[in-house]
């Protein structure tokens, strides 16, 4: 699975520009799916027919990553930008970014009397151009860039840009590739535009209208020095979400996931996330409502170019979902 994670995290795919990620995942799952299609927002829907339980299960992991969108190019070739998703000015400063065509740039800032005044609107991307014309030959207004961030490994730990949520995509790809027959029809949905407002999940869940849904996404941890209090740590297993800002996990889904984890001896922890949400937030409010939950991958430094996960946690998440599907997601 490490290779899949590397391949997917290193692919360019800010919100609304998920084409390359979609193409890679399509290739990875093509021979193991009964149907692969994409929809008007750019979601990739991978269907696996089940053994006739009559249930439809939707699994969702988002393909998009946060990024920067070029809004204006000045006479000297500096590119002004806005954030796509939750981009922090302090984290962005000094980082390398790369556009879809491979052009790289550096994030700089105007003179600032107090650093706490730093805002994205006072920053710019320098791609090394010396005029507007030169810059415009490489980057157009509306183009998006993402952080650079190679994947590094040390033992159990992996660090890369875009772990949020390519590691979730990798978990779903891995499951599609290795899982045997399941009782339920399963829709593996690789969603678009999660970072800007869980938008792809909204439309794909409407189309599928599943009986139950599980999102796979990263979550914050409270295990670093003087971190916000949060009872999720790296290395303690799959995080079963209880609540975040967009979702209260359906009690049946939570009970079911816990029972699978306990009977299979899969390490798990409960997650209560005070800020943030996932695709399940959109899915559970679809049509007349869908019982939904989230299997979260504990991750440090989310929304930075260096998001860190533990491989044993990732494996635990994959195994938990795989066993759940094999059993049939009956609540």
């Amino acid at each position: 699975m490490r290779d899949i994670i590397r391949e997917l995290t290193q692919t360019y795919g800010p919100s609304g520009n998920e084409e390359a990620v979609r193409a890679k995942i399509s290739t990875m799952v093509a021979d193991r799916a009964d149907e692969v299609r994409s929809d008007s927002l750019g979601n990739l829907i991978v269907f696996r027919r089940g053994g006739g339980s009559g249930r439809k299960v939707m699994l969702a992991a988002h393909m998009d990553e946060i990024g920067l969108i070029a809004t204006h190019i000045d006479d000297k070739g500096f590119i002004r930008f806005a954030g796509v998703g939750g981009v922090d000015p302090f984290i962005s400063l000094g980082h390398r970014v790369v556009f879809g065509n491979g052009v790289t740039g550096v994030v700089g800032m105007e003179k600032m009397d107090k650093t706490k005044d730093l805002k994205l609107e006072k920053m710019f991307i320098d791609i090394g151009a010396s005029s507007r014309a030169e810059a415009e030959s490489a980057v157009r207004v509306g183009d998006m860039a993402v952080f650079e961030g190679k994947m590094e490994e040390r033992g159990d730990r992996l660090v890369s840009k875009a772990m949020d949520d390519r590691v979730g995509c990798a978990v779903l790809v891995e499951i599609v590739r290795r899982i045997g027959p399941c009782p339920d029809d399963v829709y593996f949905v690789f969603t678009a535009q999660e970072e800007v407002g869980v938008r792809g999940a909204t439309t794909s869940a409407f189309g599928i209208y599943p009986d139950v849904a599980i999102a796979v996404d990263v979550t914050r941890v409270g295990d670093t020095p003087k971190a916000d209090t949060m009872d999720v740590s790296l290395g303690k297993g799959a995080a079963i979400k209880v609540k975040d800002q967009l979702l209260i996990t359906h009690p049946g889904v939570k009970r079911f996931l816990v029972s699978v984890a306990e009977s299979e001896g899969i390490p798990y922890q409960f997650e209560v996330l005070e800020r943030g949400g996932t695709d399940a937030g959109a899915i559970h409010k679809t049509r007349e409502g869908v019982p939904a939950g989230v299997v979260s991958i504990p991750t440090r430094y989310i929304h930075t170019p260096s998001e860190m996960v533990g491989m044993r946690d990732v494996e635990a998440c994959a195994k938990l979902i795989e066993r759940a599907l094999e059993r049939g997601v009956a609540l």
Binding site: R80, G83, V141, T202, F206
Partner: protein, 343 residues
């Protein structure tokens, strides 16, 4: 003039009837079907063979609702939609269906504490004065719950520049009416045009969602009046748009990312026809596209906006050239559908 009638009509969110009546009368002869839905959206259909194209513009504007009447006859109010408190004092308003004239008042400068002068006055310290000397006298003219609306005449400032209230989004309504007029003249219509004049955009894009649900469009264009801050003291990258540079195409705002295919198609259409256009340079704000593009299984959606300086104030300024070019672009877009849309 249509734009004059539209902007001088009052239609604060939830109270769009006056605007709706003007539009309905204007378009009745051009469409196959026209109806008002439960929320108050005015829906008009021109049937044709091909995809259903939704064009949407919102009828509502920012304004006020009267929330209380003081003993001395002055009216308390709440804002409806996003209005900067600093633009309120001394502005003329009309209250209620009888359009009772009033003025937004504030304690005079002479009596303000120095500290009060340093901070902009908050709306909850302001009141509307309709000239009543007592609560009883005020109650004869207005009711708690009445809407109040800025009172501003449409005027030409120069040959190509106009000032008016509510250009956001009566200019979009005007572009949409012109599109219906253009499309009604077509001999053959390779699309069904579904026009939605929506309600309650300013308080959360509320009308557009149900309109799109009912219409099930294949693609949608939102027609807007948008932020234009090309004034002294604004850095070029924060201007949003520039007056006179043509209709603005949004790449992304708070509520949606434009359909890439549709945006590319619009740019190609504008270039082919020699219609000037600009990109909106900021991602702030949102519009009906936010709801429309997420309807059902998703709808390819983009926005075409006319730059309007000082929007969400009693008085905005717009270039008629931008308006005319927005009309040209939307009409050219409809014409291009025959050639096959690649979105």
């Amino acid at each position: 003039m249509l734009l004059e009638r539209l902007t001088e009509a009052n239609g604060v969110s939830g109270n769009e009837g006056e605007v709706r009546d003007i539009i309905r009368r204007e378009i009745e002869g051009m469409v196959d079907e026209v109806r008002t839905d439960v929320l108050g959206n005015l829906i008009a259909i021109q049937r044709g063979d091909g995809p259903t194209v939704m064009l949407a513009a919102h009828m509502d504007e920012v304004g006020f609702i009267i929330s209380g009447i003081e003993k001395d006859g002055l009216l308390r109010f709440e804002k409806v939609g996003g209005i900067d408190d600093r633009v309120l004092p001394s502005k003329r308003v009309v209250v209620g269906p009888d359009k009772v004239p009033g003025v937004i008042g504030l304690k005079p400068v002479h009596l303000q504490e120095p500290s009060e002068r340093e901070e902009p006055v908050k709306a909850d310290r302001l009141f509307v004065d309709v000239g009543a000397g007592s609560r009883e006298e005020a109650e004869k003219k207005v009711k708690v719950g009445s809407y109040a609306c800025f009172h501003t005449r449409f005027e030409r400032l120069s040959e190509k520049t106009v000032k008016a209230k509510a250009l956001d989004d009566r200019v979009g309504c005007a572009v949409l009416i012109e599109a219906l007029r253009h499309s009604s003249d077509l001999k053959r219509r390779p699309f069904t045009l579904a026009a939605a004049f929506t309600v309650q955009e300013e308080i959360g894009l509320r009308g557009a969602g149900v309109a799109a649900w009912a219409l099930e469009p294949d693609l949608a264009l939102v027609l807007e009046g948008t932020i234009c801050a090309d004034v002294p003291g604004t850095d070029p990258h924060l201007e949003g748009t520039r007056l006179g540079d043509g209709p603005a195409l949004s790449m992304m705002d708070r509520t949606s990312i434009a359909s890439k295919g549709l945006l590319t198609h619009l740019v190609r259409t504008a270039r082919d026809r020699g219609i000037p256009f600009q990109y909106k340079r900021i991602t702030a704000g949102g519009n009906d596209a936010g709801r429309i593009h997420l309807t059902r299984e998703g709808v390819q959606t983009a926005s075409v906006s006319v730059p309007c300086r000082y929007i969400h104030s009693p008085c905005s300024v717009m270039s008629m050239k931008d308006f005319e070019n927005a009309v040209r672009l939307v009409n050219a877009f409809l014409d291009s559908i025959e050639g096959g849309l690649r979105v």
